[in-house]
Structures are given as structure tokens and as C-alpha cells.
């Protein structure tokens, strides 16, 4: 397939692998965090790790929208569906995220809640138009990539004067999460999480541009290479990071020039700031309460804010004690370090959110990579 196959070419991958192997200093290690779940997924799905020398270690970051959604926020969706009897529309990935009392949105649906999977917030708006007698709520999640479409439907709903449409805004911000990780005791004081560089987000960066990462490169002396979600993008970014590290540079480089500019999509940014404002703080699964890390709907659009419309208040609900999602999302632990990984926690029956989405480190690892831990008996 044109424009896709070129970025999955095995021959080029082999050449890049050879270049990386030639470039690395076998006497040191290269701990590279891929922030995005999209990268985690690509690495697992295409077997990128098999092409890397052992000194290059990939650390999975928190950039998986459903993974960082805390139980308390999912509970809001469940309450809307079961108690407020609204039509709750959300993305497919969201449906299986564990909530309190063994529930999830999918289980709420089985209990009679009207929960519908949509591919876009525009579909939720259509539902509201088609069913004026029902309250329709879009449960919005995601980083900067999915925020502009949510802003757009809120504006459209306002323009159409829709009285039965509102949004639970769970949109979160990438730079705040990166700061949180770089400021974490594991990185700053304890040194238990060695981080030598970041593979920067692909789609998020098409919106926010590469400029916001310049601060991390400069302030924390960590190289950042923004990369696309195709496996060759990832390999190329790893090579670029290895070179920066070897040369002692800490710069923002852009491998994904076919889609990302320094300033990003200004129109989308304007749209987002028209509809949303910063939340003072927001709870993330894994990272805890992170200041100024999420968005909420501005006063001017308050009529479309489901949280105020239905008087919702998110509570902090502790994760399952055995679940290591928090540490895994911070890159401190690997899925195999978790006692429940692959035993009671599986994609069919996720205990933690990292096992839900294919972008989650545990699900990616479970689905694509667990044979590595348990060597196959030779024929």
C-alpha cells in the first residue's frame, strides 16, 4: 500500500538496525522512553525490539489515553449511563477500562445503560440531533490529538442550539506528563529510572508542534526526537537519539517532518483555547494528581459541560492493590514485574488500564511479545 509500505520495509529496517548497531557504544546503555502508546504498539506489533542491540532499552511512557484515565473518571461515565440514564457515547477503547465495583462502561451497557461506541465526537453530535428526547453525553478522552475534534463539536452544538448534548472532558496534556516524569523521584533523586532520551509523540505534535519539547531538551538535558508511528520512523528516531547521546547533544529533532512543524496546527490550537481552559489539577492513573495537566470546558460553553450539568464530582479511587499500572505508566516497572500480569490480569479480564488498550504497555506486551519471556522449545 502506497505511503504505508514504504515505512514498514524490512530491507530498510535491516539497514537501520545495522546503522544503530554500528553507532552504539557497547560499554553503555541507552534508555529511551517512547512517550506514546502509538509507539509502544508499533514497537510490539512489528517486532522492533528484535532489531535493536541489547544496550538499547525501550521504556514505555504514559502516552496511552485510556491507560491514564483514573477509575474515578470512568465512574462518572458509568454513573451517567446507569443513574442519569443518558446515551453515553465514547471511543471503543474506553469501553473496557475498569471502573469501581468490577464495572466498566461495557458492563454498564450489559446492565441496561445506553452506552454507544463512536468513531468520532461528530457521531455523538448526530445521535443528539437524531434523538432530541434523550440526553446525549460524549465521554471525551485523549491527549492533544483528540482535543480539537471535541472542541469543534461543542462549538457546533452551541451554534445549533442543542439542548440535549454535553461532554465529559477528560482531555489531558502531554508536556505536563513529561514534566511529571522528569521531576519524579525515580528520575531526579533515586536514579532508579535512567532516562537518556525521549521519542516524542507523533500525532500530538502535529497539533502542538515541536516547540513545547525544547524546554525539556534544554532544562533537563534530554534529547527528544519526534517520530511518526510507523516502525521505520521509530528505528530512525532511535538512531537519531543514539547519535545525540553519543555526541552529548540534547536537542529537539524532528523525524516526522512529513506532518510536524515547529509551531504545529495554529488553527487547531486556537479552536482548543476558544473552548477549553486549563484545569488547576487533574488526577492521572499512575502519575497521581498533576497540576495544570488537563483541560476543562470554559464558562462560555458551560451548558455543554456534563460535569456541571449533572453535578458530577470525580472521586479518587485507589487502583487494585496488586496492580502495577502506576509504576508501569511512569516507566519504573516493566509489565513482567507485575504479579498479576498474564495471570488474573489479561486483555479479556483487565485489572489495570494498561491491559485494556492495544496502546497500553501491558496489552501490547501480552498480545505481541510475551513469547520472549518464555522461550519456545526448539523443534
Amino acid at each position: 500500500m502506497k505511503y504505508i509500505d514504504e515505512f514498514r520495509d524490512g530491507r530498510l529496517a535491516g539497514q537501520l538496525a545495522a546503522a544503530i548497531a554500528a553507532e552504539v557504544d557497547p560499554g553503555r546503555s541507552y534508555n529511551l522512553m517512547e512517550f506514546c502508546g502509538g509507539h509502544t504498539h508499533a514497537i510490539s506489533r512489528y517486532g522492533v525490539a528484535d532489531l535493536l542491540p541489547p544496550v538499547v532499552r525501550m521504556v514505555h511512557g504514559p502516552g496511552c489515553p485510556v491507560c491514564v484515565l483514573p477509575i474515578g473518571r470512568v465512574d462518572l461515565g458509568v454513573a451517567l449511563a446507569l443513574e442519569h440514564r443518558v446515551v453515553l457515547c465514547t471511543y471503543g477503547d474506553c469501553l473496557r477500562v475498569p471502573a469501581s465495583n468490577g464495572l466498566s462502561l461495557l458492563k454498564a451497557k450489559a446492565r441496561g445503560g445506553d452506552v454507544r461506541m463512536v468513531y468520532s465526537p461528530a457521531d455523538a453530535l448526530k445521535v443528539a440531533q437524531a434523538e432530541p428526547g434523550r440526553e446525549v453525553v460524549f465521554f471525551a478522552i485523549g491527549f492533544e490529538t483528540t482535543t480539537p475534534p471535541t472542541a469543534l463539536v461543542i462549538q457546533q452544538a452551541a451554534r445549533l442550539g442543542l439542548k440535549n448534548f454535553s461532554v465529559v472532558c477528560n482531555h489531558v496534556l502531554t508536556p505536563a506528563a513529561i514534566t511529571n516524569i522528569l521531576e519524579s523521584p525515580e528520575v531526579r533523586r533515586l536514579g532508579t529510572l535512567p532516562l537518556d532520551g525521549f521519542i516524542g509523540p507523533a500525532h500530538v505534535s502535529t497539533i502542538i508542534g515541536s516547540r513545547p519539547y525544547e524546554f525539556f531538551a534544554e532544562e533537563y538535558r534530554k534529547p527528544v526526537v519526534i517520530a511518526g508511528f510507523e516502525p521505520l520512523d521509530v528505528m530512525q528516531a532511535i538512531l537519531m537519539l543514539v547519535r545525540q547521546i553519543n555526541e552529548g547533544r540534547a536537542e529537539v529533532e524532528n523525524e516526522f517532518t512529513r506532518a510536524v512543524t515547529r509551531d504545529g496546527n495554529l488553527k487547531a490550537q486556537a479552536l482548543v483555547s476558544e473552548v477549553f481552559e486549563l484545569r488547576r489539577s487533574f488526577e492521572w492513573r499512575g502519575l497521581g494528581v498533576v497540576p495544570y495537566s488537563a483541560l476543562r470546558i470554559r464558562e462560555a460553553y458551560r451548558a455543554f459541560d456534563a460535569e456541571s450539568r449533572f453535578g458530577l464530582q470525580a472521586k479518587t479511587v485507589a487502583d487494585n492493590k496488586a496492580c502495577e499500572c502506576g509504576a508501569i505508566l511512569r516507566g519504573v516497572k516493566h509489565p513482567r514485574d507485575c504479579k498479576v500480569f498474564g495471570t488474573v490480569c489479561t486483555p479479556e479480564n483487565p485489572i489495570g488500564s494498561c491491559m485494556v488498550s492495544s496502546e497500553g504497555a501491558c496489552a501490547a506486551y501480552y498480545s505481541y511479545g510475551r513469547f520472549r519471556e518464555i522461550p519456545v522449545v526448539a523443534v
Binding site: R45, D50, T346, P347, A363, R370, F371
Partner: protein, 349 residues
């Protein structure tokens, strides 16, 4: 000759009529629906007897029986509809034992308000598929549920067939060293149905691959009676089927991504919907597992049949206590091909 004139019965208004609760109530309306729609389309000597069951001659050989429920949405899709799908699906399940399908039974759950014109289209499509396959629908049942309690029509078909002597095909017979052969491209059916979804409709000339595979199977076992496993990768796609066989046989598998045929349109649609063609349903494909030294002969036979033209060897069975299915990616790495978790596509067969 009796001089009694038959009662006048207004013929079924197939063009404008709709299913109502009386069509399932057991009275005249139901008899009329059965007579004018089902029996007229499926006509054969067993249905003509008008009994609640079909009395069949005893077949020679081991009997295979299988049943399959069909709840596809939308009911009509490019390349087929729920009618022919329900015939092909069950014929294929029977054929995957190496059997020759003999008879079908069909059960219909109709929703009040369903257009008779649509029902006729579906029933005609079933009749056409059954006739083409040479497998008559010999008995059936109809029930009607209130509006809102069904989704137009649900169809359950049951099939009976016989296995030729000397043939033993079962999911637990794969052995390390065996070859895995696939009869053609994967994902066509699932993506054709997906392309018609209201919320998601996208333009494509993609068609469902729905087809009865018993002819292909007959040719295969005739040429290579040593075939060990046959299975049609329907719901859950190729990935799920391979995992089922690996677990049943207590073996592992390694497949080559580059060897699995996928149509360009399927690849493209999967790409933008974030799906993996390995998990997308097929309705006219099969996976065969065969001893390595018979693989080439099997492939030649399959490629000579219209439904196996694109048959390809995709991998081999290995010893693995964990029963993993692994794949060597086109990219040069390796990964697990796991069971499908959750539901990639709702209601496709």
C-alpha cells in the same frame, strides 16, 4: 373428485407487506407465510410432505452435524446477505470435518414489522445458495418476536453430512513439522460488511467472500487424504483460528506475515480503522494443516479450484508447550499473534 371449492385466501402482499405477530402465531397467516415464501423458495420432496420433520434415508458413513446462528448487521452487504451467508456458514462447518454436506435445516426469528420484500430477498438468496451447493433445506421453523426485540431477522441453520471412509480431520491433529496452508485472501467479508455500517460507511468495491467450501474440500481430500486439520477462519479471523488449533493440538505455530494474502482494499480499510486483517472475519476461506511432504500436492490441488486460486503456504507447526502462534513480521521482527481480545467488529456473521 371433491366438489368443495377451496377457501379464498388473499395472497401474501410481498411487495408492501410486513411481518406481523400473526405470522408466528401458528394459524393460517403462518401457514401462508411458510407456503408462499419458504416452501415456494426451498421446494424439495421433504418440504413437500408438510411434516414438522424431514424423514431421511440412512446415509453410509460417519455423520457430521453442525449448527450456526447468523445475526449479521446490515442484513445485505456487498457480495451477499444473511440468507446465503447462513447456508454457506453451516455447509462450511460441516465440510471442515472433510464431510460431504447432505441436508440443511433453517430456523428464522423474524421481528414484527420486517418487510416481506426483504424477507423474500433473503429467502431467495438462501434457496439459490442451497441449490448451487446441492444441499437442500429439508425442514425449518419460524418465530416472530415483537418489534424492538429482534433485529429484522436472525437465522439459524443446522447441517448434516457424511465423512468419506479413511478421512480423519480434527483440530487436535496438528503435529510439529506440519505445514499451514491458507486458501486465499483474509479479511474480505468483515471489511465488506464494515464498509456498509451506517456510522462508518466508506466507499469501496470490496465484496464479501461468502462461499460454500465443500467442493474445494472434496477436491483437497481426494488428492491428499492425509490432511490433518481444516477450519474456516470466520469470527476472530485467521489469528483466532490458528490459536484454537494450536491449543487443541497442543502445539505452537510460526507464520510469515509476508505470506498471508491480503487484498489492498482490505489492508487500506484496516489501516484507517485501526484493525488487524488477521482478526477480521472470512466466510469463504479455509486453513488446512497437512504433513510437510504433502503440502505441495495440496497447494496444487487448491490452486486448481476456483475458491483456492490464491492458496498459499503461510507457516509451520512447531513444538511449543505454551501453544503460542508467532509471526515473523515483514519488518524483520517477531511477535505473538494472540487470541482476539474483546470484539474487533460487532455482528458480522
Amino acid at each position: 373428485m371433491s366438489g368443495v371449492r377451496a377457501d379464498y385466501v388473499r395472497p401474501l402482499d410481498i411487495k408492501h407487506g410486513r411481518v406481523d405477530l400473526s405470522h408466528g402465531a401458528g394459524g393460517r397467516a403462518m401457514a401462508q407465510l411458510v407456503e408462499q415464501l419458504f416452501a415456494a423458495a426451498f421446494h424439495n420432496e421433504w418440504l413437500a410432505q408438510r411434516n414438522d420433520q424431514a424423514l431421511l434415508p440412512r446415509p453410509e458413513g460417519r455423520i457430521v452435524m453442525s449448527t450456526d446462528c447468523h445475526v449479521v448487521s446490515p442484513l445485505f452487504f456487498p457480495g451477499g446477505d444473511i440468507g446465503c451467508l447462513s447456508v454457506h456458514g453451516t455447509i462450511n462447518d460441516v465440510a471442515m470435518a472433510g464431510a460431504r454436506p447432505l441436508y440443511l435445516a433453517a430456523g428464522f426469528i423474524l421481528e414484527e414489522g420486517f418487510a416481506l420484500a426483504d424477507l423474500k430477498r433473503i429467502v431467495d438468496s438462501m434457496a439459490g445458495a442451497a441449490c448451487e451447493a446441492g444441499v437442500p433445506i429439508v425442514t425449518g421453523d419460524t418465530k416472530v418476536v415483537e418489534a424492538g426485540k429482534g433485529d429484522g431477522v436472525f437465522i439459524t441453520t443446522t447441517g448434516v453430512g457424511v465423512v468419506p471412509s479413511g478421512i480423519t480431520i480434527s483440530g487436535d491433529r496438528a503435529r510439529p513439522g506440519d505445514r499451514i496452508v491458507l486458501s486465499g485472501t483474509v479479511g474480505d467479508h468483515g471489511m465488506a460488511v464494515m464498509s456498509q455500517r451506517e456510522s462508518l460507511a466508506f466507499g469501496t468495491d470490496l465484496r464479501s467472500d461468502t462461499a460454500a467450501l465443500h467442493g474445494l474440500v472434496a477436491a483437497m481430500i481426494d488428492a491428499v487424504p492425509e490432511v490433518r486439520v481444516l477450519r474456516d477462519p470466520t469470527r476472530g479471523g485467521l489469528a483466532t483460528t490458528l490459536n484454537e488449533i494450536a491449543a487443541q493440538s497442543g502445539v505452537g505455530m510460526v507464520i510469515e506475515e509476508a505470506a498471508v494474502p491480503v487484498q489492498r482494499q482490505v489492508q487500506a480499510a484496516c489501516e484507517f480503522l485501526g484493525l488487524d486483517p488477521l482478526y477480521v472475519a472470512n466466510e469463504g476461506k479455509l486453513v488446512a494443516i497437512v504433513p510437510a511432504d504433502r503440502a505441495e500436492r495440496l497447494l496444487q490441488t487448491m490452486r486448481a479450484h476456483p475458491l483456492g486460486r490464491q492458496a498459499a503456504p503461510i507457516g509451520e507447526v512447531i513444538e511449543d508447550a505454551h501453544h503460542f502462534v508467532q509471526m515473523r513480521t515483514r519488518f524483520g521482527g517477531k511477535r505473538n499473534v494472540d487470541w482476539l481480545a474483546g470484539d474487533q467488529l460487532p455482528r458480522i456473521c
